[in-house]
Amino acid sequence: MWRRCRRARAFRWENEFPARSDGGCYTHAMHAKKRPVFLSLPRIHLPVAGVASILHRVSGVVLFLSLSAASGLFSLSLQDPAGWRAFQAVLYGWPGRVGLMLVLWALLHHLFAGIRHLLLDLHIGLDRPLYRYSAWGVLIAAPVVALWLGVLL
Protein backbone atom coordinates (compact mmCIF):
# COMPACT_ATOMS: atom_id res chain seq x y z
CA MET A 1 0.00 0.00 0.00
CA TRP A 2 2.73 2.42 1.02
CA ARG A 3 4.79 1.56 -2.11
CA ARG A 4 1.83 2.14 -4.40
CA CYS A 5 1.32 5.57 -2.90
CA ARG A 6 4.94 6.48 -3.47
CA ARG A 7 4.90 5.30 -7.04
CA ALA A 8 1.81 7.36 -7.72
CA ARG A 9 3.69 10.43 -6.47
CA ALA A 10 1.12 11.25 -3.85
CA PHE A 11 1.38 14.67 -2.32
CA ARG A 12 3.90 14.69 0.48
CA TRP A 13 4.81 17.81 2.32
CA GLU A 14 8.58 16.99 2.31
CA ASN A 15 8.59 16.58 -1.45
CA GLU A 16 6.87 19.86 -2.10
CA PHE A 17 8.90 21.82 0.45
CA PRO A 18 12.28 20.09 1.01
CA ALA A 19 14.37 21.26 3.95
CA ARG A 20 16.33 24.32 2.90
CA SER A 21 20.12 24.03 2.82
CA ASP A 22 20.54 27.43 4.50
CA GLY A 23 18.49 26.23 7.46
CA GLY A 24 15.93 28.99 6.90
CA CYS A 25 12.24 28.39 6.87
CA TYR A 26 9.75 29.19 4.15
CA THR A 27 7.93 31.84 6.14
CA HIS A 28 11.14 33.86 6.18
CA ALA A 29 11.72 33.19 2.50
CA MET A 30 8.43 34.91 1.76
CA HIS A 31 9.76 38.12 3.21
CA ALA A 32 13.11 37.88 1.45
CA LYS A 33 13.67 39.75 -1.81
CA LYS A 34 13.65 36.70 -4.07
CA ARG A 35 10.23 35.55 -3.17
CA PRO A 36 9.01 32.31 -4.71
CA VAL A 37 5.88 32.91 -6.76
CA PHE A 38 3.61 29.94 -7.32
CA LEU A 39 0.73 31.88 -8.84
CA SER A 40 0.22 31.70 -12.57
CA LEU A 41 -2.79 33.89 -13.19
CA PRO A 42 -3.71 32.61 -16.68
CA ARG A 43 -3.69 29.03 -15.39
CA ILE A 44 -5.96 29.72 -12.45
CA HIS A 45 -9.63 29.28 -13.20
CA LEU A 46 -11.43 30.73 -10.26
CA PRO A 47 -14.62 28.77 -9.48
CA VAL A 48 -17.92 30.70 -9.41
CA ALA A 49 -17.97 30.79 -5.64
CA GLY A 50 -14.47 32.30 -5.76
CA VAL A 51 -15.65 35.01 -8.16
CA ALA A 52 -18.61 35.81 -5.88
CA SER A 53 -16.23 35.88 -2.92
CA ILE A 54 -13.65 38.24 -4.43
CA LEU A 55 -16.46 40.51 -5.62
CA HIS A 56 -17.77 40.53 -2.05
CA ARG A 57 -14.46 42.07 -1.07
CA VAL A 58 -14.38 44.46 -4.05
CA SER A 59 -17.94 45.62 -3.35
CA GLY A 60 -17.03 46.11 0.30
CA VAL A 61 -14.18 48.44 -0.68
CA VAL A 62 -16.49 50.30 -3.11
CA LEU A 63 -19.03 50.74 -0.30
CA PHE A 64 -16.31 51.92 2.09
CA LEU A 65 -15.19 54.56 -0.41
CA SER A 66 -18.77 55.64 -1.09
CA LEU A 67 -19.48 56.24 2.60
CA SER A 68 -18.29 59.86 2.39
CA ALA A 69 -20.62 60.58 -0.56
CA ALA A 70 -23.43 58.74 1.22
CA SER A 71 -23.20 60.70 4.46
CA GLY A 72 -22.67 63.95 2.51
CA LEU A 73 -25.81 63.34 0.45
CA PHE A 74 -27.75 62.21 3.54
CA SER A 75 -26.75 65.41 5.32
CA LEU A 76 -27.57 67.54 2.24
CA SER A 77 -31.01 65.97 1.77
CA LEU A 78 -31.99 66.70 5.39
CA GLN A 79 -30.67 70.28 5.46
CA ASP A 80 -33.33 72.54 3.94
CA PRO A 81 -35.41 72.83 0.73
CA ALA A 82 -32.37 74.13 -1.18
CA GLY A 83 -30.33 71.17 0.07
CA TRP A 84 -33.11 68.79 -0.96
CA ARG A 85 -33.20 70.28 -4.47
CA ALA A 86 -29.38 70.00 -4.72
CA PHE A 87 -29.65 66.39 -3.53
CA GLN A 88 -32.25 65.59 -6.21
CA ALA A 89 -30.19 67.35 -8.88
CA VAL A 90 -27.24 65.13 -8.00
CA LEU A 91 -29.41 62.01 -7.96
CA TYR A 92 -31.11 62.69 -11.29
CA GLY A 93 -28.04 63.97 -13.15
CA TRP A 94 -26.32 61.27 -15.22
CA PRO A 95 -23.02 61.11 -13.24
CA GLY A 96 -25.05 60.73 -10.07
CA ARG A 97 -27.24 58.08 -11.65
CA VAL A 98 -24.24 56.06 -12.85
CA GLY A 99 -22.62 56.40 -9.42
CA LEU A 100 -25.87 55.37 -7.75
CA MET A 101 -26.16 52.29 -9.96
CA LEU A 102 -22.56 51.29 -9.12
CA VAL A 103 -23.10 51.77 -5.40
CA LEU A 104 -26.44 49.93 -5.60
CA TRP A 105 -24.73 47.01 -7.32
CA ALA A 106 -22.00 46.98 -4.65
CA LEU A 107 -24.60 47.20 -1.88
CA LEU A 108 -26.77 44.41 -3.29
CA HIS A 109 -23.85 42.14 -4.12
CA HIS A 110 -22.42 42.66 -0.64
CA LEU A 111 -25.86 42.02 0.87
CA PHE A 112 -26.67 38.88 -1.15
CA ALA A 113 -23.17 37.41 -0.86
CA GLY A 114 -23.23 38.29 2.84
CA ILE A 115 -26.51 36.45 3.36
CA ARG A 116 -25.01 33.50 1.48
CA HIS A 117 -21.92 33.54 3.71
CA LEU A 118 -24.04 33.74 6.86
CA LEU A 119 -26.06 30.73 5.68
CA LEU A 120 -22.81 28.88 4.94
CA ASP A 121 -21.67 29.69 8.49
CA LEU A 122 -24.85 27.95 9.64
CA HIS A 123 -23.90 24.98 7.42
CA ILE A 124 -26.76 25.67 5.02
CA GLY A 125 -25.89 25.21 1.33
CA LEU A 126 -22.39 23.82 1.84
CA ASP A 127 -22.88 20.96 -0.63
CA ARG A 128 -21.79 21.15 -4.22
CA PRO A 129 -24.74 21.86 -6.48
CA LEU A 130 -26.43 24.37 -4.17
CA TYR A 131 -23.11 25.95 -3.24
CA ARG A 132 -22.52 26.75 -6.92
CA TYR A 133 -26.06 27.73 -7.83
CA SER A 134 -26.27 30.14 -4.91
CA ALA A 135 -23.02 31.79 -6.08
CA TRP A 136 -24.48 32.15 -9.60
CA GLY A 137 -27.68 33.51 -8.07
CA VAL A 138 -25.75 36.20 -6.19
CA LEU A 139 -23.68 37.14 -9.25
CA ILE A 140 -26.75 37.51 -11.46
CA ALA A 141 -29.28 38.92 -8.98
CA ALA A 142 -27.11 41.83 -7.80
CA PRO A 143 -26.75 43.67 -11.17
CA VAL A 144 -30.32 42.84 -12.22
CA VAL A 145 -31.88 44.21 -9.03
CA ALA A 146 -29.47 47.19 -9.07
CA LEU A 147 -30.59 48.09 -12.62
CA TRP A 148 -34.22 47.62 -11.69
CA LEU A 149 -33.97 49.77 -8.54
CA GLY A 150 -31.79 52.35 -10.30
CA VAL A 151 -34.46 52.87 -12.96
CA LEU A 152 -37.32 52.90 -10.44
CA LEU A 153 -35.96 55.09 -7.63
Partner: protein, 111 residues
Amino acid sequence: MSRRASGLHAWFLQRVSAVYIGFFVLILLARLWLVPPADVDAWRQWVASPLVSVGFALLIPCLALHAWVGVRDVILDYVHPLGWRLLMLSLAAFYLLAVSAWALFALERLS
Protein backbone atom coordinates in the same frame (compact mmCIF):
# COMPACT_ATOMS: atom_id res chain seq x y z
CA MET B 1 -9.50 48.71 19.33
CA SER B 2 -7.01 46.21 17.91
CA ARG B 3 -7.38 43.85 20.84
CA ARG B 4 -11.13 44.14 20.97
CA ALA B 5 -11.60 43.87 17.22
CA SER B 6 -9.36 40.94 16.39
CA GLY B 7 -9.81 37.25 15.82
CA LEU B 8 -13.08 35.61 16.78
CA HIS B 9 -14.28 38.74 18.54
CA ALA B 10 -14.02 40.77 15.33
CA TRP B 11 -15.58 37.97 13.30
CA PHE B 12 -18.53 37.92 15.67
CA LEU B 13 -18.95 41.71 15.74
CA GLN B 14 -18.81 41.81 11.96
CA ARG B 15 -21.59 39.23 11.64
CA VAL B 16 -23.86 40.74 14.27
CA SER B 17 -23.53 44.20 12.71
CA ALA B 18 -24.06 42.62 9.27
CA VAL B 19 -27.43 41.21 10.31
CA TYR B 20 -28.59 44.60 11.62
CA ILE B 21 -27.29 46.51 8.58
CA GLY B 22 -28.87 43.97 6.24
CA PHE B 23 -32.32 44.27 7.80
CA PHE B 24 -32.09 48.06 7.97
CA VAL B 25 -30.98 48.42 4.34
CA LEU B 26 -33.73 46.08 3.12
CA ILE B 27 -36.39 48.02 5.05
CA LEU B 28 -34.96 51.37 3.89
CA LEU B 29 -34.90 50.31 0.22
CA ALA B 30 -38.40 48.85 0.43
CA ARG B 31 -39.79 51.99 2.04
CA LEU B 32 -38.06 54.34 -0.46
CA TRP B 33 -39.35 52.22 -3.32
CA LEU B 34 -42.94 51.81 -2.05
CA VAL B 35 -43.46 55.32 -0.65
CA PRO B 36 -40.94 57.75 -2.15
CA PRO B 37 -40.84 60.91 0.01
CA ALA B 38 -42.74 63.72 -1.75
CA ASP B 39 -40.69 66.67 -0.45
CA VAL B 40 -38.16 67.72 2.19
CA ASP B 41 -40.71 67.94 4.96
CA ALA B 42 -42.05 64.44 4.38
CA TRP B 43 -38.47 63.08 4.26
CA ARG B 44 -37.36 65.00 7.35
CA GLN B 45 -40.46 63.94 9.26
CA TRP B 46 -39.93 60.32 8.37
CA VAL B 47 -36.24 60.34 9.39
CA ALA B 48 -37.07 62.28 12.58
CA SER B 49 -39.78 59.82 13.69
CA PRO B 50 -38.62 57.99 16.83
CA LEU B 51 -38.22 54.51 15.41
CA VAL B 52 -36.41 55.58 12.24
CA SER B 53 -34.05 58.06 13.95
CA VAL B 54 -33.05 55.48 16.54
CA GLY B 55 -32.60 53.00 13.70
CA PHE B 56 -30.27 55.42 11.90
CA ALA B 57 -28.43 56.30 15.12
CA LEU B 58 -27.75 52.60 15.63
CA LEU B 59 -26.92 52.02 11.96
CA ILE B 60 -24.05 54.51 11.90
CA PRO B 61 -21.84 52.90 14.60
CA CYS B 62 -22.75 49.42 13.29
CA LEU B 63 -21.68 50.43 9.80
CA ALA B 64 -18.45 52.00 11.08
CA LEU B 65 -17.61 48.86 13.07
CA HIS B 66 -18.47 46.52 10.19
CA ALA B 67 -16.49 48.61 7.70
CA TRP B 68 -13.54 48.83 10.11
CA VAL B 69 -13.26 45.04 10.48
CA GLY B 70 -13.59 44.54 6.72
CA VAL B 71 -11.17 47.25 5.65
CA ARG B 72 -8.68 46.22 8.32
CA ASP B 73 -8.73 42.69 6.87
CA VAL B 74 -8.18 44.06 3.36
CA ILE B 75 -5.27 46.29 4.47
CA LEU B 76 -3.63 43.48 6.48
CA ASP B 77 -3.92 41.20 3.44
CA TYR B 78 -2.43 43.50 0.83
CA VAL B 79 -0.23 46.08 2.60
CA HIS B 80 2.84 44.45 4.12
CA PRO B 81 5.44 47.13 5.02
CA LEU B 82 4.75 48.17 8.59
CA GLY B 83 4.87 51.93 8.00
CA TRP B 84 2.43 51.82 5.10
CA ARG B 85 0.21 49.45 7.01
CA LEU B 86 0.00 51.76 10.01
CA LEU B 87 -0.60 54.75 7.74
CA MET B 88 -3.41 53.05 5.84
CA LEU B 89 -5.02 51.70 9.02
CA SER B 90 -5.02 55.11 10.67
CA LEU B 91 -6.32 56.81 7.51
CA ALA B 92 -9.16 54.27 7.36
CA ALA B 93 -9.96 54.77 11.04
CA PHE B 94 -10.01 58.57 10.75
CA TYR B 95 -12.11 58.37 7.59
CA LEU B 96 -14.68 56.16 9.31
CA LEU B 97 -14.81 58.39 12.39
CA ALA B 98 -15.22 61.52 10.26
CA VAL B 99 -17.93 60.00 8.08
CA SER B 100 -19.82 58.68 11.12
CA ALA B 101 -19.64 62.06 12.86
CA TRP B 102 -20.91 63.78 9.69
CA ALA B 103 -23.94 61.49 9.45
CA LEU B 104 -24.65 61.68 13.19
CA PHE B 105 -24.57 65.51 13.14
CA ALA B 106 -26.99 65.53 10.20
CA LEU B 107 -29.29 63.30 12.22
CA GLU B 108 -28.87 65.33 15.40
CA ARG B 109 -29.78 68.63 13.65
CA LEU B 110 -33.27 67.27 13.00
CA SER B 111 -34.27 67.03 16.64
